[in-house]
Symmetry: C2
Subunit: 316 residues, 2 copies
Amino acid sequence: ADQNALSEAADRNGQLTKPPGALGRLEDVALWYASWRGEAAPQISAPQVIIFAGNHGVTAQGVSAFPAEVTAQMVMNFEHGGAAINQLAKTFGASLNVHALDLDRPTADFTEGPAMTEAEVVAALQTGWNAVDANADVLVTGEMGIGNTTSAAAIGAALLGGAAADWTGRGTGVDDAGLANKTRVVEQGLAANAGRDGLEVLRKLGGRELAAMVGAIARARFGQIPVILDGFICCAAAACLEKEEAGALDHCVAGHLSAEGAHEKLLAGIGKEPLLSLGLRLGEGSGAALALGVLKAALACHSGMATFAEAGVSDA
Amino acid sequence: ADQNALSEAADRNGQLTKPPGALGRLEDVALWYASWRGEAAPQISAPQVIIFAGNHGVTAQGVSAFPAEVTAQMVMNFEHGGAAINQLAKTFGASLNVHALDLDRPTADFTEGPAMTEAEVVAALQTGWNAVDANADVLVTGEMGIGNTTSAAAIGAALLGGAAADWTGRGTGVDDAGLANKTRVVEQGLAANAGRDGLEVLRKLGGRELAAMVGAIARARFGQIPVILDGFICCAAAACLEKEEAGALDHCVAGHLSAEGAHEKLLAGIGKEPLLSLGLRLGEGSGAALALGVLKAALACHSGMATFAEAGVSDA
């Protein structure tokens, strides 16, 4: 982050025609955004949403309410413009790219060993890295992958500790028996995969779409592109990066608090306060895309408002 | 609200390509909006933001951190496009109208008797009523008026009970001594004005911009135009209407929870759960305009998404 830009942005913020602090968190995120863009009064004009899709071997254990074919079907839906994320990206003027990662070759079932080989996780990281548009001025990373709340629960438990049951939720909507089974699967995954390093956990308990999100988030950092994190799965992936290097998510803001129960613990683990809390639990980057509206509004105010002097308004 | 439209909208919602309930509160507000528009799959294409400005005799008691001249100065700022609400309206594609109500003739100081005569409150209600564009498809009512958190605090206490201190906050930023003085002023206003009917409270403790918001909210109801309520002052005005007739705010959603301390109690008093909570305390309709982004997104999803059948996606 650029401390000069931050300081200039803070000076500007203090002169805008409003009582000090009256725009609340909009002021905080505007300053944070300005510091990462290296400009005192930046605009948001080129948001990019990227959805990564992957399939999970662990679906063989019956962890989802939906069949694994739905991953590929939803990729078609994204491409045809029919999903929630299509409408959200359009509403807030974002480009939308979809990357399906080897859907016909699911990861290995992590109850029996690592989900991915080193070559596989590196390939997925690279797909994510390369998917970022260098000209984007804010990035949303979303995902689709039947079974991936199971993966995210295992990652949360591996990185942050606690029992499998504390991290396992209903995902797309499993019943009580399904939840008990899913919890057992997470426990088995933790038992079958030693090692608690960030990137090792990503490889062993994650999935291709999670690794791709990690690659994209890392790439955004090098391009001074602020990132809005989505829900449980996106934050599980991001937590692997933070665990690998503290501060690696300083260019990221949490878009929302998901209704998937353990998301709050995951956000606390990466030290992020969500912008929105509207009970979403869809993935696809939907909560982050919704928060894009808030971030755009924050920068529109910060960079577009008149100062007291410009407007001839008396200060307090 | 149109129960047929609501039922058709709920049917549609159940067929969209997402797990049931996965869009959380976006689904609730989409159905609420559809019921008030009388359409199963409506779009939002013509949002209107109206700011009403008024001056308050009670500013003679030193209740604000800013001088009373700032009301007129901010009206100029709205007209020149320099305020926060201008940037927010532009961000979310809303038209913006500004109505200054007799700024050179402040209301009477309510510590000495009613703020307005009957003719004055009726004129302000009419201004609000007439300001609504019959072709708008959602309405945000905002306000500007130095001294009006004092008025809103007195209204809250009069309508919902409790001590003046429970309802009085720092507004644009008074210090401890200022807060003590403001609390005394609210107490005196309550003592000087008997009668706890909704519209009587509005006349005696309110202001022209509050009455105009009431007129606009009532007019919107007759035009099937859903309303997004803003913060403390807007909700105090709206509460007068609800007190006059229970259910009068059923066509309204609460846009946000303000940082002005008593807003939460006021929202509870009118039975509304805010969409956003971002620490805003600016007025001008700013919190409601920010929530307009959420409402637009909700309807874009509801009316734009493909169904499982259309997209060829397997249901759970």
